[in-house]
């Protein structure tokens, strides 16, 4: 053990343990009622965050099974394992699931769980909205998969281009379900974005001025702003599509003056930022894990933060690189080449800063850090192919081929799933109070790394050899058989790796080594409370003295005067985090679930009739009234000077 990891750190419970009476009071005011009703009413961000993560990982498993089915089908030429109709549903469901039901929600779930802990507060800013966001996401996912179970799975690809997805060429309800599912999940994403922005700006512990925010909080903040600007575009795309299908609006019908390319612009104006919405939280995780593994602050934090922000801005300026083959004017396209290439500058900056962070630190090679190393190697390759894809002539050759399939899996699995699995391992002790097995963890990283590369590396070559994406079969004479077989075998190894992770998690949840508060000797506030944290997160709201509060030389002081007999949080100013006032947050409520259900009535019912909108609107009105019904308990602002 090298010295930095043994630097003096704060054990707040020992010195700042409030009287048992106060704890009991906190438990009473922050607890959730027992029983099923209580379970449905919870507004605890940790409960909701865990639900997001578990639900998203379940969808990840489903998406993985779909991937496995595709790899089985493509393992040999002219395979009859899947018929074209089922294959098309499966690849559409795979993409839709992974993008909308796994990648975005899992990042949001970890944000919902950890941002309040990292900024040292007791709940997110809008706890009921948070509960609503989860329910609407869950209902959207169930809606999509119920459709799939009844042979109504999405079958026009995850970006469902018109006119193929329009009423004429996709007459069944498959695309209706897909389009409405988008609305479900985007509402959920917007809800989370708003909560996290407000929580970050208004509920940071005193002293956590904006420059002291941990990297993951920064990443979620940037992510949330991207969500605010990206999601409305896709809701417009899917909403117009739904209107075209439901009431014949002809937004995208070329025969009636509609424009199929408009759909592509709207979709990719969301679709490309979406990649960064998934990827930016992962970058935050990488910084957190590196800092803990090296036992010292991350190097170049201002550069890292600015990189995240500039990635977010640039991310909105390159959607056209998905459309180079549509015949847009060349000069216009060149701007998007520049923007697409420029994204490598902030990304490169981050990679250099991380390498510098590790430089000479003799890091601990525990599982989360091994995932980060895997991330580096895979993501570099994905980044390079990304820069290549910005070159229009080259893009035209490999666009919509297996080269692109390889590219975005390198970026998304390497760039997001590896850090995610690292972060899940890293935060597992906080989530459950127990450590994951290090031995199984190492095997997981090794199998996933090897399996991933064996699966996806040959796909680059397949793209050059003319294999388009989304083909359910190919001729034996095409010469693609060997590479496809290798890819399928690699997928099996990758699947074993993921399965091992699941086994490890399930076993460790019951039998893992007890973790203690801060098993990694990390510096951020989530480690300043018990594992798992109590419903009120922190017995005392801590005062943050610097960048790395738990590595601070002196004991952390804490806030007094916050009432324990109700759900009171300290509201601070956005930039300097000076205390501003106290706010009372709402407690458990069943109405978020019912509001979500009222919207579900509309989104499901419009499959058959536009009148469902009216019914849904009325139900929405009723449930929202109940949501806001005064409970006789004062909520809202209270000056901090009050005793």
């Amino acid at each position: 053990m090298s010295t930095p990891r043994e630097r003096p750190r704060k054990e707040p419970e020992e010195t700042a343990l409030p009287a048992d009476g106060e704890r009991a009071e906190l438990r009473k005011s922050w607890g959730t009622p027992a029983g099923l009703l209580g379970w449905l009413m919870s507004t605890d961000h940790k409960v909701i965050g865990k639900r997001y993560v578990v639900t998203a990982l379940t969808f990840f498993a489903l998406g993985g099974l779909e991937a496995a089915a595709m790899r089985l089908q493509l393992a040999r030429p002219e395979n009859r394992f899947l018929n074209p109709d089922l294959y098309n549903q499966i690849f559409s469901m795979h993409g839709t699931t992974m993008m909308f039901l796994f990648a975005v929600p899992v990042m949001e779930g970890l944000g919902v769980y950890f941002v309040p802990l990292l900024v040292g507060t007791r709940n997110v800013a809008f706890p009921k909205l948070n509960a609503f966001g989860y329910w609407i996401y869950l209902l959207g996912g169930l809606f999509l998969y119920t459709g799939f179970a009844f042979n109504r799975g999405a079958d026009a690809g995850w970006f469902a281009y018109v006119p193929l997805s329009g009423p004429e060429y996709s007459p069944s309800h498959r695309v209706d379900i897909w389009a409405n599912m988008i609305t479900f999940t985007e509402v959920s994403a917007l809800a989370v974005a708003i909560e996290l922005i407000v929580t970050t700006f208004k509920q940071k512990a005193p002293g956590m001025s904006i420059n002291r925010m941990p990297m993951f909080v920064w990443a979620m903040l940037v992510n949330s702003f991207m969500v605010l600007f990206a999601m409305p575009a896709v809701m417009m795309a899917s909403g117009y599509l739904a209107l075209d299908r439901l009431i014949g609006t002809h937004f995208f019908n070329p025969a009636e003056g509609g424009d199929p390319l408009l759909y592509q612009h709207l979709f990719w104006f969301f679709g490309h930022p979406e990649v960064y919405i998934i990827f930016i939280p992962a970058l935050g995780m990488v910084s957190m894990i590196i800092s803990a593994a090296t036992g010292r602050p991350i190097f170049g934090k201002p550069a890292l933060v600015l990189s995240l922000v500039s990635t977010a801005f640039l991310g909105f300026g390159l959607w056209v690189h998905h459309m180079f083959a549509t015949g847009l004017p060349q000069l216009g396209e060149a701007f998007f080449t520049v923007a697409s290439m420029m994204i490598a500058i902030p990304t490169g900056t981050q990679i250099f800063c991380w390498i510098r962070s590790v430089w000479g630190s003799r890091p601990r090679f525990h599982t989360p850090f091994l995932f980060v190393i895997g991330f580096f190697l895979i993501f570099l390759v994905g980044g390079f192919t990304g820069v290549m894809l910005a070159a229009i002539p080259f893009n035209l050759q490999v666009h919509d081929t297996f080269f692109v399939v390889a590219h975005f899996h390198y970026v998304l699995i390497g760039g997001a799933v590896f850090p995610l699995f690292g972060a899940l391992t890293y935060w597992f002790p906080k989530l459950t109070g127990r450590m994951m097995s290090e031995k199984l963890g190492r095997w997981t990283v090794a199998l996933m790394f090897i399996g991933f590369n064996v699966t996806f590396f040959p796909m680059h070559w397949l793209g050059f050899k003319g294999m388009p994406r989304r083909v359910y079969t190919y001729l034996p004479e095409a010469g693609w058989s060997t590479a496809n077989l290798i890819a399928s075998l690699g997928a099996a190894v990758l699947a074993v790796g993921v399965l091992l992770f699941v086994i490890n998690a399930l076993r460790s949840m019951r039998a893992g080594e007890p973790a203690g508060d801060n098993p990694w000797a990390a510096s951020t506030l989530e480690w300043a409370t018990s594992s798992p944290p109590p419903p009120w997160n922190f017995d005392r709201i801590l005062v943050v003295p610097g960048q790395n509060p738990l590595w601070h030389e002196k004991e952390l002081s804490h806030v007094t005067g916050l009432r324990s007999d109700r759900r009171e949080v300290l509201v601070t100013r956005p930039l300097d985090a000076e205390p501003d006032h106290r706010a009372v947050l709402p407690g458990p409520s069943i109405w978020p679930l019912f509001v979500a259900l009222s919207i579900t009535v509309g989104l499901v019912g419009t499959l058959w009739t536009p009148w469902a909108v009216v019914l849904s609107g009325l139900l929405f009105l009723v449930t929202m009234t109940a949501w806001y019904w005064p409970k006789g308990e004062p909520t809202g602002k209270h000056p901090v000077t009050e005793p």
């Binding site: 098309n88 690809g157 190097f299 520049v338 290549m388 919509d400």
Partner: protein, 338 residues
């Protein structure tokens, strides 16, 4: 492929065998490969790729080496000095920007090269995408020398070819990797795509934009021929369909004209002028059937007529239930349409 009606037609024609051999050679000879260019544009792009590839490989090696050193190097006085780190990072970011600028220049110049105007000598070919086949039209106006065919484009080596692309239904994407990148076929829009074949040969391409059920089986053949050979082919395609030469062929034509076939297909010189499906005037001269799904031979042709849904499930051709004799005669007739 299991085709019920196949057994009586097992004899593959010489041309069918050639086609099979050509498709079979795809793997080794690269008749569908971006890295085995047969045209000016694809050559330029392949050159761009190799440049990008080697540069990125070099950067990957350097960055990975830096990472490994960072991971395993012992702590030194230098490693703790933040100033030194900052200078290195600024340098590395500067190098990144410089490489990107180089990429931009190389990319834009390649883009200009592949977008050079065609000149007056250009051969225009209209390609219309259908679910799931390609309609090919060589406009020969004003001399009424139009050629209509399907799923097979013949081009003269050395002469620029300007494809005019549109779609009759959903979005498709034209991709012949040996010649150029992709261009989308979008309903209501007309895109153009210019390429120039540099060596003769038979090449394969296929639809690259997901277009529904049989997207996987929407391929086409590009035959690049020396100009004289191309001209001969063009002249042969201008002719109306061959008259039946045998009683069986005559019977076959009667079967064709008395069945629903003629509502969708056309055969020039007969009353069949359906526009929904590929023109069959010279169907026997083509290399493949069902948009590159199978080699064009007698067995496959009969199998296709009898049970198209088995070879390409979901395609828009209904199965034709007819007595064995009629099927034989119809096959004889279509086989004669060179």
């Amino acid at each position: 492929m299991k085709v019920p009606a196949r057994a009586p037609f097992a004899r593959a024609s010489a041309r069918g065998a050639t086609a099979l051999a050509l498709i079979a050679a795809a793997g080794c000879r690269g008749i569908q490969s971006a890295l085995d260019p047969a045209g000016r544009e694809a050559s330029r792009i392949a050159g761009l790729w190799w440049f990008l590839f080697w540069t990125c490989t070099a950067v990957f090696v350097v960055v990975t080496a830096a990472l490994l050193v960072a991971l395993f190097r012992r702590r030194t006085a230098q490693s703790a000095d933040p100033k030194r780190g900052r200078a290195l990072i600024v340098g590395a970011v500067g190098a990144t920007a410089a490489i990107l600028l180089l990429f931009l220049i190389v990319s834009v110049s390649a883009g200009r090269a592949v977008a050079e105007p065609a000149g007056p000598n250009v051969l225009r070919v209209q390609v219309t995408g259908h679910q799931w086949w390609w309609e090919i039209h060589y406009p020969g106006t004003p001399d009424n020398r139009d050629v209509v065919t399907a799923n097979e484009i013949h081009v003269p080596v050395g002469r620029p070819v300007l494809l005019e692309l549109t779609s009759a239904d959903v979005i498709h994407s034209f991709w012949a990797p040996n010649f150029h990148g992709k261009k989308d076929l979008i309903p209501g829009l007309k895109n153009t795509h210019l390429f120039r074949a540099e060596r003769p040969g038979v090449f394969r391409g296929q639809c690259a934009e997901f277009c529904g059920l049989e997207h996987a089986k929407m391929a086409f053949t590009i035959v690049a021929d020396p100009p004289e050979k191309f001209d001969r082919w063009y002249e042969s395609q201008l002719l109306p369909a061959a008259e039946p030469a045998t009683p069986s062929e005559t019977h076959g034509r009667d079967v064709f004209l008395s069945s629903p076939c003629m509502f969708c297909h056309s055969i020039k010189g007969t009353p069949a002028f359906g526009m929904e499906a590929p023109d069959l005037t010279h169907v026997a001269s083509r290399h493949t059937l069902a948009a590159g799904t199978v080699p064009n031979n007698r067995g496959n042709l009969a199998g296709w007529i009898a049970d198209p849904q088995s070879m390409k499930p979901g395609n828009h051709m209904p199965p034709m239930a007819m007595p064995g004799d009629d099927l034989l005669a119809l096959t004889d007739y279509l086989e004669s349409l060179k």
